[in-house]
Symmetry: C2
């Protein structure tokens, strides 16, 4: 789910630094790595059922996370796709696509900006 | 513990984006925000007891986290300070100071590099 960093020389196999980005909304986590992974799976599979299976989550948990996410956004990230031959699917709205793109862009920028320091941090840790 | 980001105009009070940086060592989290906050409190207070109290953690939990951290580092982040009039304190080693500095520097760089995108992400979320 999160992007990982390995220093170029990989001095320490099995050790990696990860950023996890969360957006807090009062006491709740409105956006976090789990919800972003779920949105990406819905984009790729076109249904909550398939997306949940893909990321090893129960349908109920996926549905609840998505409902929580959509309620906390100004505009929902997903919509029902009730037409078509298969019917009953879910798809991402423009806001959902934008949300994923922004989240992953932030992770990339963060890791690029701190790449050298992340490598130094990883080097302080000994092998498992 | 984590640094927070608010967009300059603060369009959404109560909403903030946070990076949390973790270093995984095999299945374990070798370094994370809780351990860094504990090290900072030990640096500021000179004892595990006081540090634990400061961050609202039991002595036992603080001691275990610190033991886990020191075992996962190439060189320990803390040392016992058994001399002096008060005795029995703990202090940071050069490696402990370096660890805190690197961790906070990485957070700062990450947030600066993604500042504009973090503000856009926060704007997608509605007020609580």
């Amino acid at each position: 789910m999160s992007r990982t960093h390995r220093s170029p020389a990989q001095p320490s196999p099995g050790i990696e630094a990860r950023f996890r980005l969360r957006v807090q909304r009062g006491p709740d986590i409105a956006i976090g790595p789990g919800k972003i992974a779920l949105l990406e799976a819905i984009r790729d599979h076109g249904s909550i059922t398939q997306a949940a299976k893909e990321i090893g989550m129960s349908y109920r948990r996926a549905w609840m996370l998505l409902d929580e996410l959509n309620r906390s956004l100004r505009k929902p990230a997903t919509a029902s796709n009730q037409g078509g031959t298969r019917g009953g699917g879910s798809l991402l709205t423009a806001e959902g696509e934008q949300l994923i793109a922004l989240y992953r862009d932030i992770e990339r920028r963060a890791e690029q900006a701190a790449s050298r320091q992340l490598a130094s941090l990883v080097k302080l840790v000994c092998r498992p």
